[in-house]
Each structure stands twice: as C-alpha cells, then as structure tokens.
Symmetry: C2
Subunit: 179 residues, 2 copies
C-alpha cells in the first residue's frame, strides 16, 4: 500500500499543475479611491477552445473520509478549472503528471492554508474536490457548455486504476503547521 | 438631497442588471460520486470581445462609511464583472440603467443576504465595490488585459455628477431582515 502525506500548497511546487489563488505573494494595486486592494490576474481562465465560454458554478461539498482511497484521476481536455473555498478551511488537492494516462509515480498531494484556491491548467490530471469539512462552498470556474448535449465537448476523461493508494490526513500536524 | 434605502437582493429585481450568484433558487446536480452538489452556470462570463480572456482577481476591501455619498458611476464596455464575497457578510450593490450616461431616476441599491454575489452584464452602470466590513475578500471575475498597455481596451468609463445622493445603511433593520 502507498500512502500520500499532503504537503503545504505553495507556488513553486504547484507550478507544473497551475496557479495558487491567494492574496499572499501576489501583485496588487490600490483601486476604488483607496477602498480596495486588487490582487490582479491570479488566473487566466482557459475555456474558449471550440467556442467555449467561461462559467461560474458553486459546489457544496461533503467531507471526505480519511485515509481516502485513490482509485481514479480525471482531466478536462477543453478547459482549465479553478476551485476557491468561501470559508477559511483548508482542503486537499491531488494532482499528477502524464499525457494519455497519469504517471502515478508523480502523484502529489497538497493541503491548502485556508486562504488559498487552485487553478488547474487545461488537461492536468487531478482527483475530484476533496473537502475536509461538510457543506463547504467552493466557487468553481470552468466552462458553460459542460453537459449541454447540443454543443457537446469531451468535458472529462476519467482514468481508473487498481493501485492501493491512500491519502492520509494528519489533522494534528496540519493544524499545527497552519496556525 | 436624495436618500437611497437598499432592498434585499433578489433575482427578479436584479434581472436587468445581471445575475444573482447563489446556491439559493438555482439549478443543481449531484456530482463527484455524491461528494458535491453542483449549482451550475450561475454566470456566463462575457470577456472575449476583441480577443479578451476571463481573469480572476481578489479584492481586499475597506469598509465604506454611511451614509455613503454617490457622485459617480462606472461601466465596463468590454466585459461583464462578478463579485463574490468569501465571508458570509452582506455588501451593497448600486446599479443604474442608461446608455451613454446613467439615468439617475433608475438608481437602485441592493443589499445581499451574505451568501449572494453579483454578476453585472457588460456595460451596466454601477458604483464600485461597497463593503460594509473591513478587510473583506471578494473574488472578482472580469478580463485579463485591463491595464495592460500593449493590448489596451477601454476598461472603464466613469460618469461624475453633482446630484446630492446618499445611500443609507440601516444596520438594525438589515440585521433583522437577514437573520
């Protein structure tokens, strides 16, 4: 059995997969006559191939149980995808390199610091949303025509496997690291 | 002097200006093997005219002082714009109809219920972000090339006026209504 221990999400280690969405370590300017600090261009959404449009959804997530068994990964060949939590609760991110199929040797789990969101590049292998808390709201950005039959694109490629892989959530360690 | 009292934000009264972004009264499906409820297509972002791309920013807002004097409105001719608070705190929205200039007879102030965000249609007159709390984070969706000189578009048209208009924040009423 292989057990993955998440590391704290950071720009450097996530760069192959996409963007960390955060006011920390980002460029910003003062706007609105001093009433807002704009942390700009944290992500450029990539959804326009084959006539697509960027769309906003809200996911209400259920908590996952740990250790979490990993038996699949998915990717979206026609759009990038962003997840931003509304709360200040951490969540988990599991990503993997590979083209036609995921290279499981490159599996990497991250835990956010509560403020961070993520933006997966188009085509990056990842596990679906992993919330630690129940009824967490996430803002999700991808593409409008997912699931609309009249203008169908391949919205999701799923890859299942038999490897015995689990993600640990060391809650005590995590809370200490994040505090 | 003219005083505006915000009404609670709702789809019906906001339809001329754009979308209310909320899990309430929205279509949803179960995804992720039961681990997420997806409230889908709450907004279709409109930023691609003249080669634009949708972008995500985070604004950290300062609290406004009330009554708030209104002496300008702005609009963005090349993109729609969404604001979603990360907290569960209400914020104010001030919108107006009109083409070349705002028709001040149609000024309408809204207060959100804490869960809601807003998406202004392209070209809708509005007042900049009105946060009631200090250091509130808002996810903002519009367009990447704002302010980039090499690919400059008219990102913002501002209209100033002399009318003596103020927005009241009846905090006690608001809290009762929202609770």
């Amino acid at each position: 059995m292989r057990t993955l221990n998440p590391i704290l999400l950071n720009k450097k280690d996530f760069i192959s997969y996409g963007d960390v969405l955060s006011t920390q370590n980002s460029d910003s300017i003062v706007i609105n006559d001093g009433y807002a600090q704009k942390h700009f261009n944290l992500a450029t959404l990539d959804a326009t191939q084959n006539g697509g449009k960027s769309a906003l959804h809200i996911y209400v997530a259920k908590e996952r149980k740990f250790p979490l068994k990993i038996n699949m990964l998915e990717k979206h060949p026609y759009f990038s995808q962003a997840f931003i939590p509304r709360s200040t609760k951490p969540f988990l991110v599991l990503v993997c390199l590979g083209e036609e199929s995921p290279d499981l040797n490159t599996l990497q789990a991250f835990i956010t610091n509560g403020e961070q969101g993520v933006h997966y590049k188009k085509g990056v292998w990842h596990f679906p949303l992993i919330s630690i808390e129940n009824n967490e709201q996430f803002m999700v950005l991808d593409r409008t025509d997912c699931g609309i039959k009249e203008n169908k694109i391949v919205e999701c490629i799923e890859h299942y496997f038999d490897a015995d892989i689990k993600i640990n959530l060391l809650k005590e360690v995590k809370c200490n690291e994040l505090s």
